[in-house]
Amino acid sequence: MNNTNLTAYEARKLLKSKEVSSAELTTKALRQITENNEKLNFAISIELDYALKMAESFDKTACKGVELNSIQGLPIAVKDNICTVFSKTTCASRMLKGYVSPYNATVIDKLSDSIITAKLNMDEFAMGSTTETSYFGAVKNPHDIEKSPGGSSGGCAAAVAVTDALMTLGSDTGGSIRLPAAHCGVVGLKPTYGSVSRYGLIAFASSLDQIGPICKSVKDTAMLYDAICGHDKRDLTSIGREYPSALKCLTGNIRGLKIGVPDEYFTSDINEDVKTAIFKTLTTLEKLGAELIPISLKHAQYALSAYYIISSAEASSNLSRFDGVRYGYRRDDNSSIEELFVNSRTEGFGDEVKRRILLGTFVLSEGYYDKYYLKAKQTAQLIKSDFQNAFSAIDVIATPVSFNTAPKLNQKRSPVSVYSEDFCTVSANLCGIPAISVPCGFDKDSMPIGIQFMADSFREDLLLNTAYAVETELNLFQWARRESYVR
C-alpha cells in the first residue's frame, strides 16, 4: 500500500476490492498516529492492540462475505470527550485523568464495525479555541508546529491532516469542529442539533453541543455523517425523522443555488488573505451557476455574547457532577465535605474551565438570571429568526470560519480576545442549524483558510454538496496532498 494521503473514501474502495485489508489500513494509520503524535501531541490514548485486534477480526468476517457498506473496517479516531469502554475518556482534564467509562456513547455503538484507533486531544472539557487548555499539553498545527490547530477539536483536525484514511469524530459547541478544520486544512461538519445523538458525549453546553465529523475530504465527511446520524431514543433532544444519505447527494452541481453573503461577517477585522480567498471561492461558485445574494443578519453582532452566556451557564451546571465524591480527581485531606468539593474542583479543573464555571454561575444567580441568561436566550431567538428569514429566500449562507488563520501558540491573550475567534461560528449553534468548514485557500504563510457554509436544519445535503463543489473546483485537496506535513 503505497498511496500517500489516502482518503477514507478511497480506502473504502480498496477495501471493497480487497486490495487492502482493514489490518493494513489500521497498521498504517496507527504508525502515522504514533509517529506524528510525538511532534503534534494530538492523541491522548492510542489503542494499538485493541485497534489491531478489531481490524483483524473485521478482516476475518469480511472474508466470509460480509457486505461492505459505509465505513466498516476503516480507521477512526475520536475526540476524548466521547465515552468509550475500551479506552480512557479524559476530556483532556486532570479531573478525569485515567477515567474509563462503563458505557459507550451511541455514536461509538454505531461505529462498532469501524476501527477506533485513538482518543484525541482537545481543549479541557472542549472549552477553548486553540487546544491549548488541555491538561495533556497543547496540540500543534501540522502546517506549522509553532501554531495552534484551532480548537477545541484540535486533536481531530491535526490527526486527520497527517494520517492516511483516518476519519475523526469531534464535537462542536460554538465552532469546535469548524475552527480546527479551517486552521488545519481539512473538512469539518457541525450537523443539525438533534441529528446526531449526544448520548455519551460529555456535555459542555447541552443545548448547543453536537458531535460531527472532521475528515480529509467532503466525501469522507458525508460518509461518516451518514454513519452517525439518526434518531436515538436515549437522547430526548434527538430528532426522529428520515435521514437520507448525504453521500449520495454529492453531485457537485450547484447550478441555481442561492448563496447568501451577509455583510455582518465581512467586517474590517477580517484578515486580507482570508477575505481574498473567500471572495475568490464565491466567484468560482458563481461561475459554476450559483447566485450570490447580499443579505443582512442584523443581530449577528450579539451572537458571541449570547453564546458565551448560555454556554457558560449550562457548563457551570453540567460540570457540577465533578465534585470528587464518586470518581475523578479528589483531594483527600479535607476537614469537611465542602472542603472536599472546593479542593477537588479547584485542583481538578484548569483555569479556563473554572473561568467558565464562574461566569456561568454568575449569570444564573438570583438577580442576574433575567439580566443575562434570559436576555441571552431572547437574543438567540432573534438571531434564529434572522436566519429563518434568510433561509426563506436563499439556500446557503457563506461566511469565513474565522477572521484569521491559525494563531501562534503560547500567546498571552485576554480571554475575550480568544473568545472573539468564535464570532463566525457560534450562530449556527445558537440556531441549531448545520454548518460546514471546507478549505478554500492559503494565506501568505501557507496556512490553510476555511470557508463556512450554513444551511437550514437538516439540509446537510446542501452544505456537503456546496462544499464538494468548492473542493472539486479549487482542487485544493490535490494541491495540499503534495505538501509534506510536519515541517
Binding site: 466521547i82 465515552c83 476530556c91 467509562s101 462503563p102 458505557y103 456513547a105 449526544r198 448520548y199 455519551g200 458525549l201 460529555i202 456535555a203 453546553a205 447541552s206 443545548s207 431514543k233 436515549r234 437522547d235 430526548l236 433532544t237 451557564a313 449550562e314 457551570s316 451546571s317 453540567n318 460540570l319 457540577s320 457532577r321 465533578f322 465534585d323 465524591v325 464518586r326 465535605i337 465542602e338 468539593f341 454561575t361 444564573l364 444567580s365 438570583e366 438570571y369 441568561y373
Partner: protein, 480 residues
C-alpha cells in the same frame, strides 16, 4: 390564637410515586434493595448519560392534579435546581420551576369540625436524591446509597392557608388518603414515601403576613404537628417580647422536639434554576389529557365531607371510613341498601368489624360479611328481634365463616327475642311472685330493685325476653 396573633402555614409535600421504574432511566424503583444495585449511568449522573422521561410519572402527577382541582398545563418544563451535596450525583436535581405540570388547585377536607379549603399553588415532578448512611462506631464514615436517586417524586405546594397544627395534620392525612386511593404512592411513612417541609409565619390580625420561616426534614405527620406548634410558640414569644422574626431555614429535630437554625437568609441557597436543556418542554395534547381520568366522586376527602355533612357521621368516623377503599365501598353499599342505618353501620364498622379485621389481620373481602348481612343484622336489632348481645354472637358466627344469613343464625343460635305479650306477662308474674323482697324494695323506692327483677326475667328466659318490653310490663305490674 394568643393576643390575636394569626399563623399562616404552608406545606410542601413530597410523595414518592410507586412507578415500576425510575423517572429518567429504566432502573427499578424499589425500596430496600442492597445498596447501589438499582443504578445505571443515568441515575448515577455519570457524565455523557442523558435522561429519558418515564411517562407514568406524568400520568400519576396529572391524576393528583385532577384530585386537587388543579389546571393541568399542556406545556410544562423541567428545570435544574443546582446545589452540591454528596447524595446528589449530578450536582443538580431535575425538577420543575417556572412551568410545573399542575397549578392553581385546592383541597377541601374535614378539620376541626368544619370543611377546610386549602389552595394548592402547584404540583411538580422531580427526582429523588440518594441516601447518606453514617456509620456508627469509632471511625466515622459516610456511605452513599444511590438506589433512591431518580425515584420519581411529586411535590405538592400549598398556599399559606393552613391556620393550625391540627389542620396541617388533617391536610396531610387527607393527601395521604388521596395518594393511596389513586394508587400512585405506597404511603409508607417509615420508608420515607411522604416527606414534608413546613413554612410558618405569624402576624397580628389585620396586618400583612409575617416573615416566613421554613422547616426542613419533617418526616412524620405528628412531627409536622409538633414542629408547627414549636415554631408558632417560638415566633409568638419573639413577637410578644417586641422582637422581629428573621427569615431563615430551620431543621426539625423530632427526637428533641425542637428546631434549630439550618441557614439564615444571608446564607440562603441560590439554586440557580434554569430550564433543563436535556429534556425538551413536555407537551401534552388533548387526547392524552383526556385519556387520564379519575373517579372524583370516590375521592376520600369528598366522601368524608359527604358522610359528615349529609349522613351525620362523626368527623373521625367519616374520615376513617372514607380513607379506606374497602371500608368506604362496603359502607356505601350498606348505605345503598338502607340509608336510615348509616350511623349504626358506621358504628359497626368502627368497632366490631375493625376490631375483628385488625385482630386477625384480615381484609373485609376475606370474611363472609356482606353489606346485605350487616344491614340484615342491624335490622334484627332495630326491630327488636335480637338483642345487641345476640347480634354480636351472630356477627361472630358470620365472620367465623358460617354461611347462614343473620336471621337464620339468630334462629339456629336461639337468639330471637321473645316479644310475645302473654309469655312476657306470665314471666313477669312468676318473677314477681318469687322475689317478694325485691318487690318490697322497689315499692320502698329502691330503684335498683327493678334492674334485679329484669335480670331475673332475662335469666329465666335464657336471655331471650325482649328487655324493653319486659321492663315496661314489670313497671306497670309493680305500680298497680
Amino acid at each position: 390564637m394568643c393576643d390575636n396573633l394569626i399563623s399562616n402555614i404552608g406545606l410542601e409535600v413530597h410523595a414518592e410515586l410507586s412507578t415500576d421504574t425510575k423517572i429518567f432511566c429504566s432502573c427499578k424503583n424499589e425500596f430496600g434493595a442492597s445498596p447501589n444495585t438499582n443504578v445505571c449511568p443515568i441515575c448515577l449522573g455519570l457524565h455523557g448519560a442523558l435522561p429519558t422521561l418515564n411517562e407514568k410519572t406524568l400520568q400519576y402527577a396529572i391524576k393528583m392534579g385532577l384530585a386537587l382541582n388543579c389546571s393541568i398545563n399542556s406545556r410544562s418544563e423541567m428545570a435544574r435546581k443546582n446545589y452540591f451535596y454528596p447524595d446528589l450525583p449530578k450536582g443538580y436535581q431535575i425538577s420543575q420551576a417556572e412551568k410545573p405540570i399542575c397549578e392553581n388547585g385546592y383541597l377541601e377536607f374535614l378539620s376541626e369540625g368544619k370543611v377546610k379549603r386549602v389552595n394548592i399553588e402547584r404540583i411538580h415532578i422531580e427526582e429523588d436524591a440518594g441516601k447518606l448512611i453514617h456509620s456508627e462506631g469509632k471511625e466515622q464514615s459516610t456511605y452513599i446509597d444511590y438506589n433512591r436517586c431518580g425515584v420519581p417524586l411529586i411535590e405538592i405546594v400549598t398556599r399559606p392557608d393552613i391556620e393550625s397544627p391540627r389542620q396541617a395534620k388533617d391536610f396531610l392525612e387527607t393527601i395521604k388518603s388521596i395518594l393511596s386511593y389513586l394508587e400512585i404512592c405506597d404511603c409508607k411513612m417509615q420508608e420515607g414515601s411522604i416527606r414534608c417541609d413546613v413554612n410558618v409565619s405569624v402576624h397580628k390580625d389585620g396586618e400583612p403576613l409575617g416573615t416566613r420561616v421554613e422547616m426542613k426534614n419533617v418526616n412524620s405527620f405528628s412531627g409536622v404537628f409538633s414542629a408547627i406548634e414549636f415554631e408558632q410558640h417560638r415566633q409568638f414569644e419573639i413577637l410578644k417580647a417586641g422582637g422581629t422574626i428573621s427569615q431563615e431555614t430551620r431543621r426539625w429535630n423530632d427526637a428533641q422536639g425542637r428546631s434549630e437554625v439550618l441557614r439564615t437568609k444571608e446564607n440562603a441557597n441560590d439554586y440557580r434554576y434554569f430550564p433543563e436543556p436535556d429534556i425538551p418542554p413536555i407537551l401534552l395534547n388533548y387526547d392524552y389529557l383526556n385519556s387520564i381520568t379519575i373517579d372524583k366522586s370516590a375521592l376520600p376527602n369528598l366522601k368524608a365531607i359527604n358522610y359528615y355533612l349529609n349522613l351525620g357521621l362523626s368527623q373521625t368516623d367519616a374520615v376513617f371510613i372514607a380513607s379506606d377503599n374497602e371500608l368506604k365501598q362496603f359502607f356505601d353499599l350498606c348505605n345503598g341498601i338502607k340509608q336510615d342505618y348509616s350511623n349504626t353501620t358506621a358504628k359497626w364498622i368502627m368497632t366490631d368489624i375493625l376490631k375483628h379485621l385488625n385482630k386477625n389481620r384480615l381484609a373485609l373481602s376475606q370474611t363472609e360479611l356482606t353489606p346485605e348481612y350487616l344491614i340484615e343484622l342491624i335490622s334484627l336489632i332495630e326491630e327488636g328481634t335480637v338483642s345487641s348481645t345476640g347480634a354480636r354472637k351472630i356477627f361472630e358466627a358470620i365472620i367465623a365463616n358460617d354461611s347462614l344469613s343473620p336471621h337464620e343464625l339468630a334462629e339456629k343460635l336461639g337468639l330471637i327475642q321473645i316479644s310475645d305479650n302473654s309469655f312476657l306477662e306470665n314471666l313477669a308474674d312468676d318473677v314477681i311472685e318469687k322475689n317478694e323482697k325485691s318487690v318490697t324494695d322497689y315499692k320502698n323506692g329502691k330503684d335498683n330493685a327493678l334492674g334485679f327483677l329484669i335480670g331475673q326475667c332475662m335469666k329465666k328466659s335464657k336471655g331471650r325476653a325482649n328487655p324493653a318490653l319486659i321492663s315496661n310490663i314489670l313497671i306497670s305490674k309493680l305500680n298497680k
